[in-house]
Amino acid sequence: MTDSFCTYETAWCPGCGNFAIIDCLKTALEELGKSPSEVLVAAGIGQAAKTPQYINTNAFCGLHGRSLPAAVAAKIANEKLTVVVNTGDGDSYGEGGNHFIHNIRRNVDISHFVHDNQIYGLTKGQASPTSMQGLITGVQVDGNINEPLNPVLVAIASGAGFVARSFSGRKKHLIEMMKQAINYKGYALVDILQPCVSFNKVNTFGWYNKRVYELSNEYDTADKIAAMNMAMQFGDKIPLGVIYKQEKPVYHRKNKVLSDGIPLVDKKTNPQVVRKLLKAYI
């Protein structure tokens, strides 16, 4: 790895899965030949959401749960930007759950990398939407009674065209998933399993390592029903890889104003058009 995306001192705990994820992100961007100024890394709030702070790219560090609408709009404004949302499970599936579903419907060409450690790290260890039942925390004192959300299944069911799962402990795999997601034309989700060494004492490196396996080349990523079945596999065995992939029309080609390929930011207001519009009221 060269250092065009730089190295910064972080505020993450030693051993945190985020280190591997940010390394993979830098490598993926480098291997794709991206330069810092053409990349926008957006995030909400949380430990994972600090990612844009520690990488030399354009950075949009927004509000908790609100990274998707801002990132999507930035891409709408300038489709030449490579927009990557790097943020956590709480941000993406909890506070931002509504945006998660609805931006799948928009299908703006962005990548959404969720650092899914199944716990709230920044607020020191409460259950997240993906926490397993029974997980004991300072709030869920008798164990989490709620069923975990399956983001991969939700994304496929909601119509996402690219849905993948990876693991921070398998960097080569993660880099590959990131590259594929960035290259995919449309909304691409990579749910990244990631241990939280401080607060999640159940879903540890060992726990994931025992369960994850990579999908074989024979797996048909185009079969939606099979993909939903595969998405539901989350227990003793957890599949990694592109679970579902389908080409779909992206927002910029569906939107009449953007369909000519000229970035919105480069379109100028035409005073003649405004004058004509105003004349209609005379």
């Binding site: 100024s37 926008l40 354009n58 609408p69 801002a70 404004a77 100028k268 058009v273 105003l278 005379i282």
Partner: protein, 552 residues
Amino acid sequence: MYNILIGGAAGQGIDTTAAILEKLFKVSGYNVFSVKDFMSRVRGGHNFSLIRFGAEAVYSYSNILDGIVALDDTTVELHKEQLKDEGFILCDSKLITTDERAIKIDMKEMAKKIGNPRVAGSISIGAVLKLFNESLDNARKILPQFIKKEYIAMNVEAMEDGYEFVSARFPRITGTYADHMLISGTNAVAMGAIAAGVKFYSAYPMSPSTGIMESIAAKADEAQIVVEQAEDEIAAVNMAIGASYAGVCAMTGTSGGGFSLMVEALGFAGIAEIPLVVIDVQRPGPATGLPTRTEQSDLDFVRSASQGEFPRMVIALRHINDAFYQTMRAFDIAERYQLPVILLSDQYLGDSLATAVPFECSKIKVARPLSDYTGKYLRYKYTENGISPRLIPGKSDQVVIVDSDEHDESGHITEAADVRTKMVNKRMRKLTGLCEELQEPDFIGDEGFDTLLIGWGSVWGALKEAVNTLSKKNKKKYAALVFGDIFPLPQKLLKEKAAKAKFIINVEQNATGQLGKLIREETQIRFSDSILKYDGRQISGEEIVQRVMGGR
């Protein structure tokens, strides 16, 4: 000056009939001012439009009527007391009213003969035109703007039938407004935004702000704008911020309840210093309140909305011209000062329609951010005027880092005490420049007044009319100040005029006198009395006169 009411149940075609008449009168040279009163339901209930037209400028609606076009019995019952003795009630012969002023036309039968029961509206339009001594020429000309081609012939026939049925009653007034615009507050805001170069508008539908989104969407292809209907107001405002960060003029619009949801992001735009224009088209609150009615009760809220402290600007829209020019100006200020600008409109202004001098889109030039920069780029560089250099991501070799956390000059998170203080000071320094740009309130009336009426936003028209009337009645002892720029509060003219006034009365569409409170806070000026109205209906010029003259 004439004043007519068109009333009936929702779904009976009041809007179309009113729209055609408004345009007809304007094309005939009248100055037109119309307002809508409607319920939060799609069918039934009681709705009406008030159309006032004359040879001189009209600023406010009036409840004293020259005519009623009644599409149902309820309209007659509810409004006959407002009708002048020589006024008319135009209605179908099936209506039960025995009022002597009624002109009954068997519209149903006439429409049936023409071949379509839906042309009844055109029969009444024809009759109204005759009553006011208008010709049918203009009607024939403008009908294609409102009616589909295949139905024009039968509607013209219907108008002619209605025209023949009654005799002329009111002298024709010659006005000079034929080449003016006739535009609603809602459309004026939309046009102001387009003229300013808005490229991205995101919103969640909410009355009475939805019309702005619809109006921009209708022109989106032509003007090259992306309009996105967001999943909620939180998404709407965060989208606008994201688009603005990426370099396009962005705006969102809502009403109070939606604004409540946008509040965290408003502060985000403040600390991240991202230009943002938000319009709050007020309706009575709290919570769902009265969804289709009017109030001015969000001023306290919007001027302090969001946690923490950051500079912002609040501009209240006073009339149709303001709606256009101040919307344009809001973009200019948001861009130049890199802060959120909140426009305060309301249902009354949004849904009212008025004659206006054609807008000039060159009057305000919206400044755009820098496009090049050399040296190490600092997004939040400390500067004397508080405004840091702004770059657009992807438009140079530099990277642009923005942050909702407190940050250093480069945009990176910091908890350093000295940086925090310096950064807050930097942002707050914008206010010095901003205060120099403030526009003083409109002064209405003559010097030598002893009573000063003070209001803001859409009470402008009613105050203007009230001061004119009061001055005629009382030897010019009344004047008014109406605020457009309202936060920060321009104080020069206020202090000057308040010092001369024996009595100061605030006139507001809310229960607590929010402008009064703001003025007391900022200037220690106290009011002698208040005229407040918060029943969901706009105060009229004549109501202000009545309340000034006869106690509150």
